[in-house]
Point group: C2
Chain length 387, copies 2
């Protein structure tokens, strides 16, 4: 697909897009050995296949993301969550690549999750939905990739939990992957990361409207979910970015000497919490954070051993200096383990004050790094085919 | 008071102690201009006055502390919260100093607070209790110091919110103070610190048992208070100390694939939350965190201007390298502002992995620093009297 942007080199948008649905009635076996009798995966695609179908890029989303990574849904004012990174002339250049993004299993944006109807009961699964893992997310994406007729993915990438999926892809399906760009992520959740997820879950489960997960649509534990999101938001920013954005700015002219909230930062958190409950399901929040906590590429072996079959995949690992939720040292552990296997890996720590959120903000540096990396991967791929 | 410890130089305990109560029926005017018609302040003292009554050391406690800083209450197995620092031969050496610690106004350990009986209604104040500030805490301590007949306090010290009180003492009553040791603290809560307090408060206020603060004793918002404490606990530790203590250690043999908690760190947080609700009042938690959020020595002027009347006071400022709740840069801001006023200040950043909790753990280094500092303050005081 040639576009104006391709000629001018300017960045553009993939414009109007639609979410599509992949469905299968084949039983899907989860890592827990639980079985789902049917499975739906919501996904979007941007750009076109080349003749060889070897230009596919799979984007994996984070906790609160969805399949709508770029472009605009008809009548929506806001674009997809990584619009700045996906499109003509952008990091994941839709003039060159066929970009795919799917909603994770366990989510609440079109893929099968705890809010879906359980065929056995004709009611929402609730907590009867089996606990899913990062591997399960990747295995559903593998079904989708097969369905799309792709033999080898040029690149899988994502930030935060998206990065975990990218890493899991490399470990689970190294032969189906040319390259991997994990961003602001880790190969295993630390005690601190588990602890932060757990307080979010406790906030939801303590809400009387949660009812052990058996709430009716629209009558869920909105207070608890909002609080979980507020806690999350604090961890996505940095001390410095919060200080710059809010400092001690006040909502009121003077101290109110009450508990209605005096400071801008309090109002902001409340706003972020309130808007989150409009678009997210509390049970999905439980399932997705649990999947992250269970994520551990290392398990009982050395991390470098987990990567021993990954040799054919090339890596670009990106971290952000002020990210205290997924600190750069965790990315460096990944890099070291890859290096110990002689794997081709580039590492870049982007200097940023934006904390973990930086992967959704620092587009310029990410774009430059990713564009160059993908060009190298593509050309080396062609060269090695030619040889 | 000569003790065996004084002769041998060994460290000992002040042994059995009792909480005392200072009461006044004079109206107490708060910073908010609200008035309390009566006031009780719980306090303990350890050691004895010297002849000149110039050996008093005032210890200020943090969020969840109380007047019981050292020694043992009759039949109690656990000593006071800073037992390792206060006693014969210790940092605050009761062979030399008359050590005082009082429970803050707004607290729930014997001093007047939201759980106290409102004389107007003969019921607990609840949210009718006026919002208190760090200044108010210090002003009640001033009443107590006057009542004890002390003209000048040798030293005021405390960690975290205790450090805020110590700093406020220096600013409010510089002529009554020879020295000040603020530990792991700040001169103003940052946006991050306010945000973390706010999610704790939201957790409490979202609990249906909170009932706008009008809960009966024993029927309070224990779930919300427990959650607030869990959030707090995460911030008191460091990534490294959590990793060392828990890592990915599991409570179960294998992943449970449910939401009952798989990891040791989850069980630990739950335990800390559950034990906190046995000993703390939810409304007090709201009032005390609000006081911290309001704390701002700087307000609309430059910080160094806030300290311009403090010249006669000597300072030892202590921070801990891994403390991300009250990071060392905040202590350095205090030091700089003091230095700009030509004030005598020593700064020490203790290298520790324990995060904010370090002020309750790193006793050896704290002890050495504080002992030497206090000796210097005491001897310089004598010298200047002799001159």
């Amino acid at each position: 697909m040639n576009t104006d942007n391709e000629k001018t080199g300017e960045k553009g948008s993939v414009s109007i897009v639609e979410t599509k649905y992949f469905r299968t009635d084949s039983p899907f076996i989860l890592e827990s050995e639980a079985i789902l009798d049917e499975l739906t995966i919501a996904y979007e695609t941007y750009g076109s296949f080349n003749r060889e179908k070897d230009n596919a890029v799979l984007i994996c989303h984070a906790l609160s993301g969805d399949a709508h990574a770029a472009g605009y849904h008809e009548s929506d004012e806001k674009p997809g969550w990584w619009e700045e990174m996906i499109g003509p002339g952008k990091a994941f250049d839709t003039n060159q690549y066929y970009v795919i993004c799917s909603n994770i299993i366990g989510g609440c944006k079109g893929s099968t999750g705890p809010g879906s109807i359980d065929p056995k009961t004709a009611k929402p699964y609730g907590l009867d939905f089996p606990v899913v893992t990062i591997s399960d997310m990747v295995n559903t994406q593998k079904l989708l990739i097969d369905f799309l007729g792709i033999k080898k993915v040029l690149c899988v990438s994502g930030g935060s939990m998206g990065g975990m999926q990218a890493l899991q892809w490399a470990v689970s399906y190294p032969d189906m992957l040319a390259s991997c760009i994990p961003i602001a992520t880790t190969c295993r959740h630390s005690a601190l990361q588990i602890a932060l997820d757990e307080v979010g879950r406790q906030a939801i489960m303590a809400d009387p409207n949660w009812k052990n997960g058996r709430y009716e649509p629209g009558k869920g534990p909105s207070g608890g979910l909002s609080l979980a999101r507020m806690i999350g938001h604090i961890t996505y920013m940095s001390d410095k970015s919060m200080e710059r954005k809010f400092g001690r700015l006040m909502k009121k002219k003077e101290y109110g000497y009450d508990f209605t909230g005096d400071f801008e930062v309090e109002g902001y958190l409340q706003y972020r919490g309130d808007s989150f409950i409009q678009r997210f399901d509390a049970n999905s929040y439980l399932y997705i954070t649990k999947a992250m906590d269970y994520f551990d590429l290392q398990k009982n072996e050395r991390l470098c051993d987990s990567f021993r079959h990954v040799r054919g995949v090339r890596f670009l690992v990106i971290a952000f200096s002020s990210d205290w939720l997924y600190p750069p040292y965790q990315s460096k552990e990944i890099v070291k383990a890859l290096k110990l296997n002689g794997i081709d890996v580039s590492y870049c720590e982007i200097s940023s004050d934006y904390g973990h959120d930086a992967f959704l903000i620092e587009f310029d540096e990410e774009t430059t790094l990713i564009r160059h990396f993908l060009e190298r991967v593509r050309h080396n791929g062609k060269n090695s085919t030619a040889r």
